[in-house]
Symmetry: C2
Subunit: 208 residues, 2 copies
């Protein structure tokens, strides 16, 4: 139940309603975890039932009600317990690796397109993660300010260093993936070249 803990971690920075949480998870800040609102609202109700968070009803205008949730002592304890527990190594399935496993079944130029697609995608991901890491180091995101406001100034540098490190990690993983795809691209380009030389019967065949 990672969503529960993601929500606890956000509400530890400041109280929010479901709508705001949804916006947050949609933003780049929520890149590490995300959830549609249809999952957020029921989860909040469940968490409230479990005593991890508590709601304060507010009314905008005359009728529009919103439920602003804050983390409780029990929620804080649960968050700390979960953070300190060894992460369970669930089998990480990777659809892209699975697809690449069968790339020998298609023409080299099709395989090349797949790798190029991955490279482009990952490059966008890298810059997004890195930008956010920098913003955190600069203490320049809406949430980090609020979060730091509740902590002693002596801790501030450590806190942003750890949070930024997570986003640098996301960038690092994306880089590894992009480099892997680039190597794959070189691999299929070689294959493509070998095919061109081999096919018009201009001699010098490899293994026969």
């Amino acid at each position: 139940m990672s969503l529960t803990h993601a929500i606890l971690g956000v509400l530890d920075a400041r109280p929010m309603n479901g709508y705001e949480l949804g916006q947050f998870f949609d933003s780049s800040a929520g890149w590490v975890w995300s959830a549609p609102r249809s999952q957020i609202y029921p989860t909040l109700r469940r968490m409230e039932g479990g005593g991890l968070i508590e709601a304060e009803r507010q009314v905008r205008g005359t009728k529009l009600e919103r439920r602003v949730y804050s983390i409780t002592e029990a929620g804080l304890a649960e968050l700390r317990r979960w953070v300190a527990a060894p992460p369970d190594s669930a089998s990480r399935r990777d659809p892209v690796l699975l697809q690449a496993l069968f790339l020998d079944m298609v023409e080299p130029d099709v395989a090349a397109k797949i790798f190029e697609h991955v490279i482009g995608e990952q490059e966008a991901v890298i810059s997004r993660w890195e930008q956010h890491a920098q913003r955190l180091l600069d203490k320049d995101t809406p949430l980090i300010r609020e979060r730091l406001g509740r902590r002693s100034p002596a801790e501030h540098d450590t806190i942003v260093a750890i949070k930024a490190h997570v986003f640098e990690g996301g960038a690092a993983m994306a880089k590894a993936r992009a480099e892997w795809a680039a190597a794959g691209l070189r691999l299929v380009r070689q294959e493509q070249a070998a095919q061109k030389i081999g096919s018009p019967g201009c001699g010098a065949d490899a293994d026969e």
Copy 2:
């Protein structure tokens, strides 16, 4: 529906029954994708219904029946279609990054233990992926032999190069993760040291 395609990819090497597929997905070869048998059997039935695979009933002894599935022309076409299609970039949630995001909430030595745990775990993963990559390059796994048996010898080196590249990719991702965790460990160790110097009141406080 990645499991469907994973199964198609395996059955393209040779016909198998559900039990064998289960064994395969449990083995290191199935590290890229896995599924419990409770998911495999219904999926096979669905795929048979869809005409992607066809079953041959075999009887061992007098009563024990097994259904050996082979890929059909339609299945092969679907596999090729899926392989050539651009991978959809589903938001990749990462529970470990999420957990690390809140590591500032616990004592530095607890955070250090988490990072150490990740490092140890990833190192085991790296060697497994790398070993399998090497076995593929050596054409030395049960499945790759059967797979190559159905392809022209001229293709063999390309095929194993691509498949091995996938496992090298898995290793590369795990390495990136291990390095990230190692950097995280250095980060919290620094913090730990700063805390020790700072706490007994021996002066030289940073930011005040």
